[in-house]
């Protein structure tokens, strides 16, 4: 990416994001305006798509609510997204979990990833700092 664009994006990027990947069950806390007041709402689901980089990084989170599948796309670095917490790490073999759309009930279960280091978020941050120091 161009260094000037990087410089513009740098202050907009969040540094406290946890490490998440496709297949993880996450809870996204979004700020919504309701009747002139602002409050935070949680939205829990499985990440089926993780795309983009820099400010434009997005995740698509799918959940089934009252029998209807809902997919919401979140701009990860948006100030509207207050917090993202990882509830469960999933073991998947695809980068895009579109196959979940055709499945219902028990078939949508995702195997839990075992042996995940708890400090994954910290290691990711450390790795980022390391590459930064290099460049």
């Amino acid at each position: 990416m161009n260094s000037i664009i990087k410089e513009i994006e740098a202050p907009l990027l969040k540094s406290n994001l946890p490490a998440f990947d496709v297949g993880d069950t996450v809870k996204v806390f979004v700020k919504i305006v309701e009747g002139g007041k602002e409050r935070t709402q949680g939205y829990e689901g499985v990440i089926i798509k993780h795309s983009g980089h820099g400010v434009g990084e997005t995740i698509t989170v799918r959940r089934v609510f009252q029998g209807i599948g809902i997919e919401r796309v979140f701009l990860v670095h948006s100030p509207r997204v207050e917090k993202i917490t990882v509830q469960r790490r999933g073991q998947v073999r695809r980068a895009k979990l579109y196959y979940l759309r055709q499945r219902t009930g028990k078939a949508t279960r995702i195997k839990e990833k075992v042996g995940v280091r708890k400090d994954a978020a910290q290691t990711k941050a450390a790795a980022a700092a390391k590459t930064e120091a290099k460049s």
Partner: protein
């Protein structure tokens, strides 16, 4: 044409507004924009200001070009652009254009640049013409249809849309909103896309007062 500033398109990204919504922006790196010559009615027959865009190395200019800068005791600049304005006397040779006064956040600007070249293209891409069916035994896919009637008029009307070279032409994107002006770093952020390739020359001028 009103006075404008030259810059180079850097690329696109997005920033967040006060409501937390993402705004797509194009980043423009502004040049030095130094007045190199002032044309007056008495001397030249018309009023204009000649502005040099970017500071370049001496070897990038040939001797006649360099001579002009030597005469005026300026550092070499490229490219030179003339703006026809009414009060050219208000400018002096060697001063930099005041970007902070010309461009403010929220105002509308026109951005001129050279569009990306598309090469030789058919009528579908070039003029949004329709096409025939691609299958079911059709032999009419993407080619042009009829170009006119027969004996009457007996010729092809002028300006008929035909295949040819597309892009690489001067394009002006009008009434674009300024999102941010950073005079210190020489950066300008405008909302949406602007013509040209990344690194291409663009000229940013304030839009007509109707829009500002």
């Amino acid at each position: 044409m009103t006075l404008g500033v030259m810059g180079k398109k850097v690329g696109m990204t997005q920033v967040f507004d006060e409501n937390g919504l993402a705004v797509p922006v194009t980043v423009v790196k502004l040049g030095e924009n130094i007045v190199t010559d002032v044309k007056t009615k008495d001397k030249n027959g018309y009023e204009a200001v000649q502005v040099g865009g970017f500071a370049v190395a001496e070897k990038k200019l040939n001797k006649p070009e360099l001579g002009n800068f030597k005469k005026r005791e300026l550092s070499p600049l490229k490219p030179l652009k003339e703006y026809r304005i009414e009060n050219s006397g208000a400018y002096t040779v060697g001063e930099a254009l005041k970007v902070a006064e010309m461009l403010t956040v929220g105002m509308r600007v026109d951005v001129r640049g050279k569009s990306i070249g598309k090469g030789f293209q058919g009528t579908i891409k070039r003029y949004n013409a329709g096409r025939g069916p691609m299958s079911h035994g059709s032999k009419f896919h993407r080619s042009m249809g009829s170009i006119g009637a027969g004996t009457t008029p007996g010729r092809v009307v002028r300006g008929l849309h035909m295949p040819g070279h597309m892009g690489d032409e001067n394009v002006c994107a009008r009434h674009i909103k300024v999102v941010r002006v950073d005079v210190e770093k020489g950066l300008l952020l405008v909302k949406g896309s602007i013509p040209g390739v990344d690194g291409g020359l663009v000229v940013v001028t304030p839009s007509k007062s109707k829009w500002n």
